[in-house]
């Protein structure tokens, strides 16, 4: 162990590590870029295809660049052709989704925040059981509730309506929103609440004056999460609505599946992009909150 290493082999050690390091570095970047192409590829194809004419599509390949920036398919995807019957286009369904998402995100976030608050700052016997009780809702396969929900919506007279979808999304968002807020409030020191109670503040005052002001990060995470989940939903949308009240993902699917005469792939791609843009924008702008939601929600179980 106490070998005297010759100074020449010290030199060799220096050089060897320099070359292997360089090689490894190049290999690293190569692999990372390879995977990046796998991930970017579909987006590129979607955009490029939506800007081509059907002629160009038939003649070229997936990767080929469009000859010009042809936004016609976008216009058709959004506003249709103006034929009337049998012509689905995204505009009304886009607004349906907006009308559905906004209230659902709001209510589920509000309820989640208050429930998380109660569970962490007003402890009582059995509160972990209540949390577990609610948490379970994150995991159930929704197939187990589709049938009774369909009947209930019918009984309430709100089947095939945006209101119905708002109800569904609010309710099934509660487990997630509660999870986020509860995990966040758990790490807020209880001393804050105790000090406020000594000062005479009551239940709601503490919530609005003390907890809410420091809740910005988790509110962002929760809103982004809920927005993405609800905007991207298809199961509930397709099961509980059809026709005019449908949300955008359902409309997208219908458009793509409809086998009217000639398939217009460029319109399909444009529609897909339009349906995906809102969540994509949110992700690009607030990505790190998105990721924080994913990892914290998941890691904490």
């Amino acid at each position: 162990m106490q070998d005297n290493i010759q100074s020449s082999s010290y030199k060799q050690l220096e050089q060897k590590s320099k070359y292997t390091n360089m090689f490894l570095r190049w290999f690293l970047y190569f692999v990372l870029i390879l995977f990046a192409s796998y991930f970017i590829f579909p987006l590129y194809v979607m955009v490029v295809t939506s800007l081509k004419t059907m002629e160009e599509i038939r003649q070229g390949t997936l990767l080929s660049w469009p000859s010009g920036l042809n936004f016609d398919s976008w216009a058709v995807a959004w506003g249709g052709r103006g034929y009337g019957a049998g012509d689905t286009f995204l505009k009304p369904y886009f607004w349906n989704s907006i009308k559905m998402v906004v209230p659902a995100v709001f209510f589920s976030t509000l309820i989640g925040a208050m429930t998380g608050y109660v569970l962490t700052k007003w402890r009582f016997k059995g509160d972990s059981w209540v949390f577990l009780f609610l948490l379970f809702g994150c995991f159930i396969p929704f197939q187990a509730i589709l049938l009774p929900m369909a009947r209930t919506l019918g009984a309430l007279g709100i089947s095939n309506s945006i209101v119905g979808l708002v109800l569904v999304h609010t309710v099934y968002g509660i487990p997630f929103t509660t999870l986020f807020f509860r995990n966040y409030y758990v790490s807020v020191p209880t001393e804050l609440v105790k000090a406020a109670r000594i000062d005479g503040a009551g239940f709601f005052k503490i919530f609005f004056k003390i907890l809410l002001p420091i809740s910005a990060p988790i509110i962002v995470v929760t809103v982004i999460w809920q927005f993405t989940q609800i905007w991207n939903d298809f199961l509930f949308g397709s099961t509980f609505s059809f026709g005019e009240a449908a949300p955008i993902q359902v409309a997208l699917n219908n458009m793509v599946l409809s086998s009217t005469s000639v398939k217009e792939y460029n319109v399909d791609m444009a529609s897909a992009i339009i349906a995906g843009i809102p969540t994509l924008i949110v992700y690009v702008l607030a990505g790190k909150y998105f990721i924080r939601g994913l990892t914290s929600g998941a890691v904490k179980g």
């Binding site: 162990m1 106490q2 005297n4 290493i5 100074s7 010290y10 050690l13 220096e14 590590s17």
Partner: protein, 364 residues
Amino acid sequence: MKTLKIEDLSKNFGSTEVLRKINLEIDEGNFLVLLGPSGCGKSTLLNIIAGLETINEGDVFIDDYNVSKVEPKDRNIAMVFQSYALYPSMNVRENMIFGLKQAKTSKEKIEQQLEKVSKFLQVDQLLERKPSQLSGGQRQRVAIGRALVREPRIFLFDEPLSNLDAKLRVEMRREIKKLHQQLKTTVVYVTHDQTEAMSLGTRIAIMNHGVIQQNDTPEMIYNKPSNTFVADFIGSPSMNLIKGNLKETSGEILFTASGSNFEIPIKDYEFKDKSNLNNKEVFFGLRPEHIFFKKSNDNDFEITLRADLSEYIGHEQIMTFDYANQEILAKFPSTIKIELAKETKLYFDLTQISLFNAQTQERI
């Protein structure tokens, strides 16, 4: 041949200069402590010796070989970390032999080393346990064992006692000292705790702002600090520094504190430079433990000061006196009763004083 030599070493992180032209040498078997407040660069220096940090300028030599560009594993060093850094998914045995296995040591040698070291550190009963099943003290011993099995030329310690509670810290400090006495290994040890440094080190390098303030034995650092920073950093409470002036008249040198009339004669003091002493602005340094309430020898200077505060520590008390509107602290046994707000006779042991240039803060 010096076991470790550092030549003109400089290191920056971006635009911040962390280490400035560091020069250091250690002989074999020495226990060098790098001492200083946080941010002084001591941990960076340690990491550079280990090869975990790059160098901007300068060189590091181990046994006279320039190891500045050599990988940590080839430098023949071992390190004990503040958090011990034991591998959580391996048991104690695997933790300790990991380095040996990486170096492709023969199985027999590995077993031999493991047995020797684990018995020596009394962790041989713990070999099958995982780090999470060990106490803080046990973890530390395993971390030391991991370093020991590799029989390195230099042991590096990065504040290993900082995570322990006070009592355990004192215990482990003694164990480390015993270890060093038995094994006579070369050690570089980083800490911010001056008591630790003084008790463990055979040499101490005090650092501040990336510069070594003084590199000396503990006795020299304690008795003859080379600047006011060292004087203040070492000792609890630290050395009293009284501002005043020197006067040189007919071969005699006298110190007068600002705002006071007492003239203290300076005799038998080793001046570095005896020129220009007249009217020089200085700090007069004297440790609290060198102020007495009773005359102990003839050279003691008698002075009368008013007592302002007393802090009882148990076996001793720390008293604050007013010296021409400057505070001066003294340490007395707690059995002595001194009345506050009254003038008391005190005795300065003038053989223990230090004088510092008030502008440069350097020892004169």
